[in-house]
Amino acid sequence: MAEETITLEVTRYRPREDREPRAQAFTVPYRKDWVVLDALNHIKDRVDGTLTYRWSCRMGVCGSCGMMVNGVPKLTCAAFLRDYLPGPIRVEPLAYFPVIRDLVVDIEDFMGKLRRVMPWIIRRTEQPLTAGEYRQTPAQLEAYKQFSMCINCMLCYAACPVYGLSPLFIGPAAIALGYRYNLDSRDEGYHLRQPILAEAVGVWQCTFVGECSAVCPKGVDPAAAIQRSKVAGAKDWFLSILLPRGGRS
């Protein structure tokens, strides 16, 4: 009996030789319980050892295996072949990012932006460890929890045309993470962080396309984080007009 197969059209790009990426077709065995990443691993292990991509946990939590699958950003370890029958399946590097090689993109830009939004707890005074934990009720935890679920997989950036058009845009995940700390009852860094989120290249660039949230595999809803930061930013702005000496300390 002939084995069932499915075809993957994989983008290849060799930095030293190619000027443009090109597609290469591979036919792999079809298995009901295989994800796209399994198919790529099959190619790498048995067909073409030069195929280049990132992966690690294959359980949707390390955030390294994001690629475009039929034009939509996906974690390839969570994208089942069976959902793309009968194929072919287009596998491309995440959109809008510079491509290093094949399916590997450069995310240094995001790493810099993440640092800029100061994703850490800022306090005026640190309580000593001997005094125990900062108290935080389940409701206070709930207030920011959703925005702390980001695995930095970059799918939202690959879905956001605004990022494609203006790469300076801080972008969905970084803003969501900055906003997460603004919402944390233990944090006192709003006055430092919010001005960065509310820069011209920050939340105001977002036109609420909303695709970032649609593709997010972890339900983070960065679009909501951004719009809520806009509301906060607008409030601050009007307050600063009404009370020029700063209603906020």
């Binding site: 509310a198 820069e199 702005w237």
Partner: protein
């Protein structure tokens, strides 16, 4: 850390308010004034129109209805133009769009106050 002052929040604020007004009020008015009255489903004689717009409250209502969504338009149209690749012209586009909305506001005021 120094904050760059930007006027974005101001325009965005007007955009949002305009969007709310447009969402709640525009469809029904579009139906009445754009379709129902011209097609004769509803009569809307001149006398009635004058009587209505003569009332100060209605004037305020009309001002809100017409002027605010203009900012909603200006903001969106500005970004549509940018999204279509006119990035190099960001500044003039913004001035043009918001400028038109301001002009529209002044115009609306002028029309309403003259009545």
């Amino acid at each position: 850390m120094s904050t760059r002052k930007t006027s974005e929040p101001f325009w965005w604020g007007l955009f949002s308010v305009g969007g709310v007004v447009a969402a709640f009020l525009v469809p029904v008015h579009l139906f009445i004034h754009g379709l129902a009255v011209p097609l004769g489903w509803i009569a809307f004689p001149h006398a009635r129109m004058l009587a209505l717009v003569g009332q100060p409250l209605v004037k305020v209502y009309l001002f809100v209805l017409i002027a605010l969504p203009l900012y909603h338009w200006a903001h969106r149209f500005r970004f549509v133009l940018e999204d279509l690749g006119l990035h190099a012209l960001r500044a003039p586009i913004a001035v043009g769009c918001y400028g038109s909305a301001v002009a529209g506001t002044v115009g609306t005021l002028w029309v309403l106050l003259r009545l």
